[in-house]
């Protein structure tokens, strides 16, 4: 039996040891996922260049949904994750991450510049130079979150 752990760093080692002892394999590609309530994850597991990487949430610049795939962008590169955007929205700390459109979650501390548009939108420039639109649906949420 394989299981994927999406828990905080504090709980990960303990849980991994306990599950392994019981004969349950920890696998990042497992369909069965164990999550922790009221805790936000510190790492994501993503695939890039055929390899599996453990991505610290502090390194994440933004997460984007393209077609049916979810990509996590960091300063090092781009990684594909299996979780859905809606799921990630609940797993990531809302103090650090904010959904700005149906397809994008940004890391708040990675926003370099905000440019307002005349049509109830903002154009964000992230620290890696990437441009992200805050769409009309998320306009007020963004304003409340950033206090502008």
């Amino acid at each position: 039996m394989k299981i994927k752990l999406m828990v905080s760093d504090n709980s990960y080692e303990k849980l991994a040891a306990a599950l392994t002892e019981k004969g349950i394999e920890i696998d990042e590609d497992a369909d069965l996922i164990l999550t922790e309530r009221n805790q936000y994850i510190n790492h994501l597991t993503g695939r890039g260049d055929g390899e599996i990487y453990r991505i610290g949430v502090a390194d994440i610049i933004c997460i984007e949904s393209l077609s049916h795939d979810i990509f996590v962008y960091t300063s090092d590169g781009c990684y594909k994750v299996r979780e859905r955007l809606r799921q990630l929205e609940t797993l990531l700390d809302p103090e650090q991450f904010l959904r700005v459109s149906n397809a994008v979650i940004i890391a708040r501390h990675q926003v370099k510049r905000i440019k307002p548009a005349m049509s109830s939108k903002y154009l964000l420039t992230m620290t890696d130079g990437r441009h992200v639109d805050v769409t009309r649906s998320y306009y007020n949420i963004f304003r409340d979150s950033f206090g502008i």
């Binding site: 926003v111 510049r113 905000i114 440019k115 307002p116 005349m118 049509s119 109830s120 304003r143 979150s145 950033f146 206090g147 502008i148």
Partner: protein
């Protein structure tokens, strides 16, 4: 024509004002939010978005444009005194004669040199000489209250003339006016008129070349031009 130009200018100014203000606010707003982002300040008074500012400006301008005419309509223009009804009930008249016509019938009794019972005044205004006579008698329907001889005394050749006679209240409010023109600039024209109420008579006269006159006519026919004199008629009989 003038009032239309003024309204147009005001509207253009307002459009430029709204656009200019919005652009400036847009830049200030962008600067402010990025300043807050840089300082990591996520709490504080929310700023008005540029869209909100533009909307409020447009509404404010529209409201002002509606309120001002409405208030003037309700209260009336307090700066402009109301014209007494007596002025509207009075009679005003004038006629213009050429030198040839002045030699005919009863007009022969009037002269550019002297007219008994009239006070003579000569006024040189630019290239136009006004020799005018004001009656020293009380109002009389049969005799003119004022006679004005208009002559061109300039050196430049002229081809046409025009004139206008405007009756005003003693407060200088317009009552009634009329004018015309002609091509015979060789001698004088004689303007005679009367009014059954004390008032002010403005006489305009101008001499032009054909081309200049045509251009002037294209611009604004209603605004009198040329040289001007004002005559105070103080002769009306007291009310019985």
């Amino acid at each position: 024509m003038r009032s239309f130009s003024l309204v147009f200018i005001i509207l253009v100014f307002l459009v430029f004002f709204i656009v200019g203000f919005s652009v400036i606010y847009f830049f200030l707003y962008t600067r402010k939010i990025n300043q807050r982002l840089k300082e990591g300040v996520y709490e504080g008074r929310r700023l008005w978005t540029p869209q909100k500012v533009v909307l409020c400006l447009v509404i404010a301008v529209l409201v002002i444009l509606c309120i001002v005419p409405l208030s003037r309509l309700i209260t009336g223009d307090k700066d402009t005194p109301v014209i007494d009804d007596a002025y509207y009930q009075a009679e005003y008249m004038h006629e213009v004669y050429t030198p040839e016509e002045m030699q005919e019938g009863y007009l022969q009794q009037y002269s550019i040199d002297e007219n008994p019972g009239y006070e003579k005044t000569i006024e040189q205004v630019g290239d136009v000489k006004f020799t005018y006579f004001i009656s020293e008698q009380s109002y009389d329907r049969m005799h003119p209250a004022f006679i004005v001889y208009v002559q061109y005394t300039g050196n430049e050749p002229v081809e046409v003339y025009d004139y206008m006679v405007q009756f005003l209240t003693t407060e200088y409010q317009n009552l009634w006016g009329n004018g015309s023109g002609g091509a015979d600039t060789s001698d004088y024209i004689c303007i005679m008129g009367n009014a059954s109420i004390n008032c002010i008579v403005e006489v305009y006269a101008g001499y032009y070349q054909e081309k200049e006159y045509a251009e002037r006519s294209d611009e604004d026919e209603l605004t009198p031009t040329g040289e001007k004199i004002q005559i105070l008629l103080n002769h009306a009989a007291a009310e019985e």
